[in-house]
Amino acid sequence: MNSALLMNIVRFIVLLTLQVVIFNKMNFLGFITPFPYILFIMLYPVNGNKSGLLIGSFLLGIVMDMFCNSGGIHATACLVLAFFRPYVFKFAFGLSYEYQTIRINEAITPERFSFILVSVVIHHFTLFILEAFQFNFILDILLRTLASTVFTIIICIILIYLIKPNKR
């Protein structure tokens, strides 16, 4: 029972460290930054405590905001993603998602890919809309969302393969 909690805490710290130390420094073409730290929300157990997920993702976002000096935009985006996660599950895996033992960190099937895609788009769109906070930059927002989504997904998939437990 506690191993799941421990796993989540370890994931929280490791992903946040990776994000701050490595991925925040990445600037493809000067404006594309990947945000693979949201893997924490995606990899949270399907049947885990829902309120725990909300609080966890809020804390995750607030710490990111501290590092990025961005007010509360990461916290809001993470919260929105955490809230919509069950609906994204339903969309990607069908109605019976709760009764299956889905593990994201296995081979990438089309369902899993669409789950990652929709989650990343929700998070990034919220994030960049709040960041610009005005509609003069709408084209900029769409461009950033699109470009960063691609990079985040690529890095998420790489990370998932890296942390996949070895079956020998």
């Binding site: 701050v20 909300l54 609080i55 607030i62 007010g71 960041e131 900029d140």
Partner: protein, 274 residues
Amino acid sequence: MQQIFNFLIRNSYRILFLLLLGLSLGLTIQSHSFHKSRIISSANFLTGNVYEKINDVNEYLNLRSQNEQLALENARLKSLVFNIKDTLQIPNLDSIKGVNPADIIVTKVIHNSYNVHENYITIGDGAKKGIKADMGVINSQGIIGIVDDISPNYATVVSILNIKSRINAKIKKSNHFGSLIWNGKSTGFVQLIDVPRLASVRKGDTIVTGGQSVIFPENINIGTIDKIFIDPKTNYYTLNVRLFNDMTNLGHVYVIKSKDREELINLENKQKDE
């Protein structure tokens, strides 16, 4: 009463979500409002320490460019000392004229951001060294930003690459004033707006800080004019300014304690009260 409790318990998940959402949206809006420090900032013990550790490594990697900058600044200062009668002819030399050397705090950038619309820089010294909010930050080549939030050992700086930043600046040759803003597009350029049509502007003219602000002393370098537009709405000039500074590569910076600042602010407040 019973029903209210039942309702709260049934919807506890939604209520928790709305509560946290309200909190984070509140923080977001508060951070976007003009001239107000953010509650959540990187001027704190945790993030400051982490950034300092990261910077220890990055500093090594950037030693070469930092050395080159220092050597250039040395050469310029030496030329000042050796050719004293030429001082008036040499432009851009003394970037911190009119400030007592004791009023300059040397510190270094431990975290720099330049890829979003609201960029902030974190520096490695804070209230313990006498840094206060609203002090100007410059380096040998030009201005960098204004101190925003402070903690005992760290401070955040609103970079000039921030769409909220607004700094009084002028054309060095003709003393016409304008406001320096950033349109959020390129890290190498800022915009000087509201320059009157009377001003004679030419490509390549130098832009320096104006004397109207209490934050920066007069005549600190900013950049050169790159393009000239006329704003169709207001009929004022809008100038694209190419920065002297490479904002993506910052090392040691100077925080300026303006000597007359408190006197000026007190005077202005007194007038407001009357």
